[in-house]
């Protein structure tokens, strides 16, 4: 600060850095898994070094085919997807995708899932010594795969079991990503915290469906898919608000974030960081714009450090 004409003028830029479970992020903005590929897809449009972290597409032990098409469908201010967790598998990722990501100084968070408890554990173990993997995000919530993660994320006991097993195999920061499709998310949140999660991210998509009224077919080949985008934001903000109050570990807010003021809602209710999903499709520069605008917001509001804003809801 310096004084100029009696008015205090800030010479320093507001600090946006946050820390989550030991991960130091230069700002609280990162992509949501599955909406940013393996990073390389967006590298032509966005400097990945700008991001607080990079989060990969969800990975499984073996490559996964995913669902038949159509896999996506636009809905009012949102979209449904039933990609079915198509991915190249953990080995191919380590060999062909990770070296690219390792060039950047933003921490790389690998999102993963399994079809069985053992698979979860195996993937986590496999990632333990991979250079450049800064943290893990465990998806126990994807609604798209019939025998997949859904059982873990909707039952506290199953969630607890799989997280504690994975916890034993990894020394990396472990973020557990929750599904919103439950009666009381505080129960699952507490369960995964007690089982050893270092942080919690939410929300994954809400289960939804759309019908083509002419053909009378579901618009997705899989009938049911995951709803994301601006439409779901109020639900996500509520759930993050509830989880923040229920647990002590840091929380990452996700759901319908397209602009800085959307991200701010999550930060104010207490999320330490946010993930941007569907908005990347709409605007590949969305995250860069959000980061810039967060800085400007802090400047305008006289906030020197974004941590001073986190969790300041006046309710």
């Amino acid at each position: 600060m310096s004084e100029l004409n009696g008015q205090s003028v800030k010479l320093t830029r507001p600090k946006l850095a946050v820390e989550i479970a030991g991960l130091k992020l230069k700002n609280p903005v990162m992509p949501a898994s599955g909406t940013f590929g393996y990073g390389e897809e967006y590298a032509p449009y966005l400097d990945l070094n700008q991001l607080g972290a990079i989060v990969t597409k969800g990975l499984s032990l073996n490559p996964k085919a995913g669902n038949p098409t159509p896999r996506i469908c636009e809905t009012v201010s949102g979209m449904l997807n039933a990609i079915g967790l198509q991915n190249v598998g953990i080995e191919d990722f380590i060999k062909h995708k990770m070296p690219f990501l390792d060039q950047y100084n933003s921490p790389v968070i690998v999102n993963f899932f399994g079809n069985t408890l053992e698979e979860y554990v195996e993937v986590a173990a496999r990632l333990e010594d991979v250079p450049g993997v800064a943290g893990l995000e465990m998806n126990i919530s994807c609604p798209n795969v019939k025998q997949g993660g859904i059982v873990f994320g909707t039952e506290a006991s199953a969630a607890s079991a799989v997280v504690s097993q994975v916890r034993k195999k990894t020394s990396k920061p472990l973020i557990v990503k929750l599904t919103p499709n439950v009666t009381d998310i505080r129960v699952t949140a507490k369960a995964v915290e007690d089982a050893g999660a270092d942080a919690i991210s939410l929300i994954n998509t809400l289960t939804g469906m759309a019908v083509d009224v002419k053909t009378r077919k579901p618009r997705l080949a899989n009938t049911i898919g995951g709803l994301s985008g601006p439409a779901i934001r109020p639900i996500a903000v509520r759930l993050v608000h509830q989880v923040v109050q229920a647990v002590d570990v840091p929380v990452i807010g996700i759901g319908g974030i397209s602009r800085a003021i959307d991200a701010l809602e999550f930060l104010i209710v207490g999320a330490k960081a946010v993930q941007v999903g569907t908005a990347n499709f709409v605007d590949p520069n969305a995250m860069a714009t959000i980061i810039d605008d967060l800085e400007e917001f802090c400047q305008n509001e006289g906030i020197d450090d974004i941590n001073d804003l986190i969790g300041t809801l006046d309710a």
Partner: protein, 285 residues
């Protein structure tokens, strides 16, 4: 590959329900390849949420607004009004701000100069063939077989003619050119020109029929496919088609946006090409 925040230079109806939009697009003359596409966004407007994919019809330079100013690089799209997004597009005006991600995807392989080139376009599927024709006419004989349901669906054919392309029009109702399907014409041409390469773009049933005919004649075929797209850059995996080697155990999905939209026919699994967007009828959000 860039996200341009840019403006519309013009937007005109060229046939009932079909529009031609010219957009200021720096670098497109250098970058754009025949068969590539853009992801188009109507700014500040929601819905539609997602961008819409459109083939690049043409790139060029427009006269500057006044002497001494630089020429304006543009890209031209041609689109058919089919749903919520294109309905909004038809109301856009010169000067309106829009966003353009592109040029995207893999375009056409120009092939061997000695071959006869046969382009098969169905309705709006004609769009990506124009830039292709521009390149091909330099070295090859180029023929365009253009089909549509009715005469209103036959667009920009004279522009192909001006390039020196031989054009053969057919409509299902006989209101322009030959009555019937474009594939009839293709059968005849392939008999006449056995050493040909075929390039096709149009509705899925047409593409399917073209593939069968070309396979029967052992004629090399490139197709430009459509698919529902969210990202356009290979990130969402929404736009996949099954590759020739695909099996449940050994999945081989190709992204229409990144490995396509143009594929060599032999890259694809023609028995299992699933319903693409054309059949889905749009999302009617």
């Amino acid at each position: 590959m860039k996200n341009h925040k840019t403006i519309i230079l013009s937007n005109q109806e060229i046939s009932p329900g079909y529009y031609r939009m010219r957009i200021l697009a720096p670098e497109y003359n250098k970058l754009a390849q025949p068969g590539q596409f853009v992801m188009f966004r109507v700014q500040r407007s929601l819905p539609p949420l997602l961008r819409r994919p459109f083939g690049i019809f043409r790139v060029g330079y427009a006269a500057p607004d006044c002497d001494g100013m630089p020429q304006k690089e543009f890209v031209e799209l041609i689109y058919k009004v089919v749903g919520s997004g294109t309905e909004i597009m038809q109301d856009l005006h010169q000067g309106d701000r829009v966003e353009l991600l592109g040029p995207l995807g893999r375009g056409f392989d120009l092939g061997d100069p000695d071959e006869e080139k046969i382009l098969v376009g169905g309705g709006i599927g004609l769009v990506p063939l124009y830039m292709l024709a521009e390149k091909l006419v330099a070295n090859s004989n180029v023929r365009l077989l253009m089909g549509g349901r009715t005469r209103d669906d036959i667009i920009t054919v004279t522009e192909f003619e001006r390039l020196g392309v031989g054009t053969y029009v057919s409509t299902e109702d006989g209101s322009l050119g030959e009555e019937g399907l474009v594939t009839q014409v293709l059968e005849r041409k392939l008999k006449k020109y056995p050493n040909a390469q075929v390039y096709a773009c149009g509705p899925m049933p047409m593409i399917d029929a073209v593939q069968k005919i070309c396979a029967a004649h052992s004629t090399p075929l490139q197709v430009s496919l459509e698919a529902l797209m969210a990202c356009g850059v290979g990130a969402c995996l929404g736009c996949v088609v099954k590759g020739a080697g695909h099996s449940e155990e050994n999945p081989q999905y190709l992204c229409t946006c990144k490995q396509g939209p143009v594929f060599q026919a032999e890259q694809l699994d023609w028995n299992r090409l699933e319903n693409q967007s054309g059949d889905c009828g749009g999302c009617g959000v």
